[in-house]
Symmetry: none
Subunit: 128 residues, 4 copies
Amino acid sequence: MFAIDKLSRTPIYEQLIDQFELCILSGDIGPEGQLPSVRYLSQTLSVNPNTLQRAYAEIERRGLCYTVPGNGRYIAKDALIKLREAAESKTSEFEELVSELKGKGVKMETLVGIVNRVYSGEGKVIAE
Amino acid sequence: MFAIDKLSRTPIYEQLIDQFELCILSGDIGPEGQLPSVRYLSQTLSVNPNTLQRAYAEIERRGLCYTVPGNGRYIAKDALIKLREAAESKTSEFEELVSELKGKGVKMETLVGIVNRVYSGEGKVIAE
Amino acid sequence: MFAIDKLSRTPIYEQLIDQFELCILSGDIGPEGQLPSVRYLSQTLSVNPNTLQRAYAEIERRGLCYTVPGNGRYIAKDALIKLREAAESKTSEFEELVSELKGKGVKMETLVGIVNRVYSGEGKVIAE
Amino acid sequence: MFAIDKLSRTPIYEQLIDQFELCILSGDIGPEGQLPSVRYLSQTLSVNPNTLQRAYAEIERRGLCYTVPGNGRYIAKDALIKLREAAESKTSEFEELVSELKGKGVKMETLVGIVNRVYSGEGKVIAE
DNA sequence: GTGGTCTAGACCACT
DNA sequence: GTGGTCTAGACCACT
């Protein structure tokens, strides 16, 4: 379920955060659903518990889950809403950027080409 | 030559800035070429001199033109280079955003759709 | 608190910018502190709202404050740091200029004399 | 007469230019006075002829001397005037900088201190 | 002629 | 209430 690429340039804890968010978005874990414990997941993924702890802390900071001390972590009720709003805001940002680039004389083909490349490839390619 | 839409949500002075930058990018006004005077252009476009002044001031602040006091405004030698670098940097920003949106589970079709919409329509559509 | 000299050769909006920067440097307005509204200050100082707007816009462009739409303007958290860095960079520039002038045979007394004059007088004296 | 510091961070040809300018300013070489030949001076100073050539070319570019082919280089009639104007312009720049620094809240003592340091020491000290 | 600054005041969007 | 933009027009300095 969790695809972590240890060779990637994006830090593992960021990958973890992305994965958790995708889980929530896809409904794999519903509201009030319990998240796997740090120890269990760290063994399953062969990831250092500290790294997992860091990812969980960030998710909690974003208000996507909460901790019941001595019991576990649970998905917040409004987690889905928050994530959708975040995605929407990013999408608006995207639209504004497209608009700006259009205004600067950048061709539509160039942008569509970039979108294609990013989605077909395995992400951002730096210093090819 | 200058298409100003007074009903647009984007301020006139921003439209003017965009137009000037496109003029430089397209080579309509070459380096060291003189820009039309504030008064002349304000009459031609039926735009207040202050609004034009504001646009010119911003273009100058970006190092795209310079003023010879009591004489006129001229395109800077390296204006084209600066504009191209700016466009390139914005394009990188675009690629990063696409990558981020992909990571957040946004479909490629959504993004391509937005690009299409922005380029087919007459600019940004807010709160449709 | 705000000393604006309408007869000075330095534009009012520049004087305003200087005053705001001094307020931040002196700590009169701390980070996250709210700046007086355009209208209020324009009345207090008998300065046109547009002129104040211009000063505020420039301060914002420099990243020293930010706007909460429909609410007001607030000092940025890192405003003090930015101002101090700017002052330091200007001081380096000053040192280089002194070094260059020394190389051109200008006497030290001349420079010290200028410094004295500028600080004793009420600003720059042009074409005395 | 010519003090060249081969260990200095400022290029030799720049030091040469400075020295020539000081010679003109001090009146050591008057208008229409002949400059020493490249070959002679290169031997006297143990400086590569190309370096001297470069310095002379720059001095000529600034209109401070002219070449009579097959004869020699001579100080231009208006060399002194030009140098004084240049120094004056730099001095104005200095005054403006002082004014600006004063406006940014820099203390007068700081500036006088810098002037003192530069003139007492042997120029700019980088990364001590 | 050129640009730069400023005032007076209208109108808009946002909260 | 807040800021943002724009117009109409005056006045200045500079060449």
